[in-house]
Structure formats: structure tokens, C-alpha cells
Symmetry: C2
Subunit: 417 residues, 2 copies
């Protein structure tokens, strides 16, 4: 039974119509006011008033502005490409990353720096992230952009307002307070989310887009995670831990896992397992981006281990091919569970598994076709992500999504200060 959360009132109605008009502009831009009225079912008068309000907020712009005015009524309108923008930050074991995305989802600034390996105190990591945020904020200001809020991607589970990120040695930290004390975010408050979730959303905003339908996005750097997107929104689970694909059991008698189980997907298809089967040894630290320690790099290079694996796969190295086959079969078993339980329209391979997809997808596709494919009739479409650095892009995109979903929030928050 579906009922609204609260009573419907006129103010709420106006705000919803504003968001409705903006969502339609975002979807159909450039679009005229007359067409917006058709698409939304609102009157032309209402649409014109909403467009004027959105233009006043700096969120929408007329494509053919009349000097001193807000464009001819017949001219199409679009989401404004500036000055409002969102800041995405990512904190990971080996690196820190930042990017700025404007309301049209153009990436305006990207910056990644290496950091020392885990062992840092949480506050050291946050201080380093705050430095990066300040740097990028200055750069954005020079580019004429106004940052309206910040989202931080972390490799951990967010349950309510607590963050558990074992790889960062963060244990039940009150994320919002902890981060908002160190990192500026205004007028919108800072938010924090799981990197796999944000990388999954990045696919929607910066990758294949709504054509994916409901999808499961596989994230993989060192570990393996997944983000599940249903009707354009994340499926988070009862405790915020949905999508832990790396700990689906694919070999019940397989090797023990750090999670306490045996034969988890991570143990047969994670980076360490791949390198071990392929016989690739990587100097300590070089496996992650800590290889670039202390240097600012324009774009995060793949880890040395993954790069070497891809080189050997391209050269047809037998052990590397064995590793890919084992990983592909393991992914096949886990993704059959995903297909049978979630029945998504698409499955998108990201990160490391996008890089080695040419060698694993035949095994995955065969598993999906055999494993219940005959019963279901339709198997999910298997795709490879073309989005690099999805987590930090998704973080910035999340700020943009917050603004577009509630365009008055920016003004409300500024008034409240």
C-alpha cells in the first residue's frame, strides 16, 4: 500500500512543481516553456513562473538571452552550466581525489594526490583531504565557479551517520560531524557515502545513463563491491550494506576470507587473487596508488599490479589467462545470484574488472545464460564501464542531484546562515 509520507499542502505542491519542471529541463534540454507545459501537464503560466524562479536561482538559463532580461518566452531553456557546481571528494587507501562538476554534469576540475598507506589516524587523512578540498575550491573560484556543497566517497559502510571503513581503520566514526568540522561545504551540508554506491551512480550521470534501466554496477580496485540502482536511486538495504558482492560465496570450500567466510568472490576474483594466480609480484605499496606517493598526479594511474596483469593478458601469458578464467567463473557464479535475486536490466563491470573484461566476459556471459537464463527468459545485459574514477565523479554528481531535486535548498540554506 502506497501513501504519501505526510499531508499534501500548497507550499509542498509548489516546491514539487518546481522540482518537476527542473527535472524535465534536465531530461529534455534545450526545451521551450511551451514544450515543458506539455511534458509536465502544468499550465504555461505556471511553467513560466517556475522557469523564472529557477533562472533567478541561477540554476536554469535561457539559451537566447535578451540583454537585461531572461530570454524570450519562445527561446529554449537549459540547466545553467555555471556558476553553481558541486565538489566531490574521495578518500581511499592509496590516494585522495577531488573533482568539481557543474549542474550540466560537465567535469570542470579533477585532481588526485597519493597519500601514505593505511596506518594514518583518521584525523590525519581528513586533514589531508581538507587541504585538497581547499586547493580545488580556490581553483574553482578562479574559474568563476561557486561550489554549493560537498560529498565524500569512502571505502566503507555508512549506517545512519556512522562510517565503518576497515581499510582506512575508521570504526563507527560520526562521519558528518567529523568531516564537516574539517571540510567546508556550504550552503548544502556535507554528506558521505560508500565509494561503490557513488561509482554506481556515476554510471547513470557520466556513463551509459538511464538507458541502463535498473542495474548493478561492479566496483573493483583491491576489493570487490557493487552498487545497485533501482529507478534511478540507490538500493541501500536495511543497514546501508547492500551490494557487498565481494562476499557472495562462489566456492563453498574455497580459501578463508577476512570477512570470516570461505570462498568469497573477493578470494577468487579480487586483485590479490588475480596477481597470485598470475604469478605477479608487486613491490610493497606499488600495488596501490601509493606508488605515486607525495606527488600530485593529473589523473590516477591504474595500480602497478593491475597494469602488469593487463600487459600479460594482452601477451597471452598462460598464468595470467588462468587467473582471468578463475575470476570470470567466480564472477559468473556471483552474478548469477545477482541476476536471479535482483533481476536487473543491466550489469556493468567497473574498475579492475572493466580493464580485464575482454578475458572474463565470455565466462560471465556463459554462466548468466546457463544459470537460470533459460527460466528467466531474459538475462541482464552485460556491459563494461567507460567511466574512470567513478567514485569521486559520483560524489560530485550527488551534490548536483541534491540541487536539482530540491532547487530551493541552496537559497534556504543561505538564508539560514
Amino acid at each position: 500500500m502506497s501513501t504519501p509520507d505526510g499531508p499534501t499542502d500548497l507550499v509542498g505542491m509548489r516546491e514539487r512543481n518546481l522540482a518537476l519542471v527542473l527535472a524535465e529541463i534536465d531530461r529534455s534540454q534545450p526545451v521551450t516553456r511551451a514544450r515543458l507545459a506539455e511534458l509536465t501537464g502544468l499550465t504555461k503560466t505556471t511553467v513560466s513562473a517556475q522557469v523564472a524562479a529557477l533562472t533567478g536561482l541561477g540554476i536554469v538559463s535561457a539559451d537566447d538571452p535578451v540583454p537585461g532580461g531572461r530570454g524570450r518566452p519562445g527561446a529554449p531553456v537549459s540547466v545553467a552550466s555555471g556558476p553553481i557546481a558541486g565538489l566531490g571528494l574521495e578518500i581511499n587507501v592509496g590516494y585522495l581525489s577531488a573533482c568539481v562538476v557543474d549542474l550540466t554534469r560537465q567535469v570542470r576540475i579533477r585532481r588526485t594526490v597519493a597519500r601514505a598507506e593505511a596506518g594514518d589516524r583518521p584525523q590525519d587523512a581528513v586533514a589531508a583531504l581538507a587541504n585538497l578540498a581547499r586547493l580545488v575550491t580556490r581553483q574553482a573560484r578562479r574559474a568563476g565557479l561557486v561550489l554549493a556543497g560537498t560529498t565524500v566517497a569512502v571505502p566503507g559502510v555508512i549506517d545512519g551517520k556512522l562510517v565503518n571503513a576497515p581499510n582506512l581503520r575508521w570504526d563507527a566514526l560520526p562521519a558528518a560531524d567529523f568531516l564537516s568540522d574539517a571540510i567546508p561545504s556550504r550552503p548544502l551540508p556535507i554528506t558521505v557515502d560508500n565509494e561503490a554506491n557513488l561509482a554506481a551512480l556515476a554510471e547513470l550521470w557520466f556513463g551509459a545513463g538511464p538507458g541502463l534501466g535498473d542495474y548493478v554496477h561492479v566496483s573493483s580496485e583491491t576489493g570487490i563491491g557493487a552498487g545497485i540502482v533501482v529507478s534511478g536511486a540507490l538500493f541501500r538495504g536495511a543497514h546501508g550494506a547492500a551490494g557487498e558482492l565481494g562476499h557472495v560465496i562462489v566456492a563453498p570450500d574455497g580459501p578463508p576470507c577476512r570477512c570470516g567466510g570461505r570462498g568469497c568472490l573477493e578470494q577468487v576474483a579480487g586483485l590479490d587473487a588475480l596477481l597470485s594466480v598470475a604469478g605477479i609480484r608487486v613491490p610493497a605499496g606499488a600495488n596501490s596508488d601509493a606508488a605515486t606517493l607525495g606527488t600530485a598526479v593529473p589523473d590516477r594511474p591504474p595500480g602497478a599490479g593491475a597494469a602488469e596483469l593487463v600487459r600479460r593478458l594482452e601477451a597471452g601469458d598462460r598464468r595470467a589467462l588462468d587467473a582471468a578464467r578463475q575470476a570470470g567463473r567466480g564472477l559468473g557464479v556471483a552474478l548469477v545470484a545477482v541476476a536471479n535475486l535482483f533481476d536487473p536490466a543491466s550489469i556493468v563491470l567497473g574498475g579492475l574488472h572493466a580493464q580485464i573484461a575482454p578475458w572474463t566476459t565470455p565466462h560471465i556471459a556463459a554462466a548468466l545464460e546457463a544459470g537460470g537464463g533459460r527460466l528467466r527468459g531474459r538475462s541482464p545485459v552485460l556491459r563494461t564501464s567507460e567511466v574512470a574514477d567513478g567514485a569521486v565523479l559520483g560524489a560530485a554528481g550527488e551534490v548536483v542531484a541534491r540541487i536539482l531535486a530540491d532547487p530551493l535548498a541552496v537559497a534556504r540554506q543561505e538564508r539560514a546562515r
Copy 2:
């Protein structure tokens, strides 16, 4: 980004408020109008008007009616226990079932008849179901009930309006037309849904209720399925096939399955696998309710095979215990995938697996604790269903849910005739 599907208008607002008031009565009954105003945030005048409208529709009744009136304004109101009711039907391999549930979700009539084993033409099965529906409708009329609609549970996948039920030899049938021609349903149109989905919803309406949080309900008679309930509604997947738990792979090198895969859960924890490991032979047909062929039975007995298995488990028979251990371990692997991917608050074992739960849950609980439990922090609560015949109950409950979600639909449909 979340936006409403269409423009908000005043008529829609009134209808939503009506549904809002009714949902609150359903949740908090008996409840006074004054309390309803507090709970909904609507004015007392609005609430009184909505309660009067709902009383006029026969959906709500005042607990202390004034002769000729609609109850004192201070008297509490409740959902009416009559005359409006919903008809649930279930068509399965071995039996047909019907039940009538009133708007307070009291079961008023239940009736199950055996039918010949599969091989019937679809229209024969539907004709037999139509006979049962007529019988029960007459019985309901004699009890002073007015049926407002029908929902049919089938063991198959519903994709759009097509039903695929391989066990019934139904292949891409246009369910609504097919069923609505034979089976009366008015004023609300007939609907059809998967038995595992409806059994899962029955848990919400006739079992442990909203306290379950988001949950996954395991259905098992001959095969194994699951229904996934998120925020009180079914999670259906992109093609209506979500919850195919029976085809999650739990033994990658295990026996082949009818789905085309190997080592599916059904192959190690389905009824046939359990009976085979336990060394139980059942005469042909006696394994399902076809054992009671041609006789009307007041309540569907468990299949002979399942009953024998439980007897032997209770007697401590070694082979039966081996079968339960194998099934428990297999369920453990599959439910670890459920816990890691969906992160539900509860997992409910139903059907056959509710009956043998005392012997399988130790294995399942151990698997859930080991398999990622340490990472997640919280494992789903494992429960055993106390609802028998969940699919047909869920079907009738679904009619009630349709009425409560859109109380004007009954009147609208009647006017349209």
C-alpha cells in the same frame, strides 16, 4: 533524483488525503478523529470529511454508532469488517485454493481442492479454478460478504501481462484476458501474481507484520523461491523475475538443474533432493496434494513426502538428518548472497523450509554469521513463518491492499459499468 510522476493537482490531493487517512486508520485502529488529525497533520474538519466519505463507501465504521447516524464525533473509527471483502485464488500443480479475506484481514472462508497433475490444458485448469471461485463466491454471499475483486497466485513469472508458469505448462499466456474471461472479478479487475511474491506479502499482512522491516521470504513447496519486500512493497526486478532464490548457485560443481545451470539451491535443498538424500520414496503423485485427487479438503495437508521427512527427522533418522544438513548448508550459502546483496532486516523461512527449520537453522545461522556477518556488523534476523498457505492468503490480501490504497476505486469502477 526523486520527483513526482506528474503534476500535483487538487483532486489528486484530496484522493491522496483520503488514502492517507485510511492508511492511518488501518495502522492505528480503533482511533478517534482528533487523533487522526494529529497523526496525519490534516485539520479536524478535513479528517471528519474524509472519515464520513470512507464510512459512506462502507470501508470504515464507527465503533459506537448512533442509530441512523455515523457515530459520535468522539467515538473511535476502524476499518469495516464487512461487507466488503477480497477473493484470493491459487492455482498450483497439485491443487486449487481459494480464500476470502475482509478489509480487517480476517480470513472468512478457505477452501482447497485437489486437481489432476500437470498435463491439463491451461483452459481446463482455469475452468476448474472458475468453478471453485463460483462456489466460494456463493458461500461468501450467504455469509453477507460482497467480494470487490480477485487476485490469482500462480507458480510462474509475470512479465508485464504475460504469465510463464512452466510447471503448469503455461507459456507466455496473456493472463489478465485469459483469467478475466473465466473468473468473475468486480468491480476491481482481476490481477495475477507469482505465488512466492504473494506468500511473501502474506507475511506482512497475516504473519509477523511490519516488525520484520525489509525482508526476504523463502517459499518452498516442491521448488524454492523468494519474495523480497522493501518498504512494505514487493521488489520485482526489471522483468518481474526477482527472488529466484532456487537458482542461486550453491555448489558450482553440483548436479545439473532444469534451469540449465549446475548446483542450484533447488538441487540441494528442494523437496526432491531432500527426499533423495533421506532415502524416502513416495508413490507417484503422492508427493504433491494430488494425493487427495478429486476430494474437497478443508485445509491442504503437507505433501506425503514432506510429512514423512519431518517424521524421520523427529525420530533422529541418520539419512534424514544428512538431508537436512545438506539443505541447511546450501540455504546458508544462498542466504549469505541474499544478506550481502540485499542487506535485509529479516529473512523468513516459509513452506517446507518452515517445517524442517529446527534441523536447518543452526547451519543457516552459522553461515550468515561467518559469511560477511563480521563485516556487516548486523546479520539479518532469521525467522520461521507461522503462516500456512501464504500464497492464497496473500492473493486475497492483495485485493484488500488495492482497496485500502485507493478507496475510491471500488466506487469509480462500479460507476463505470
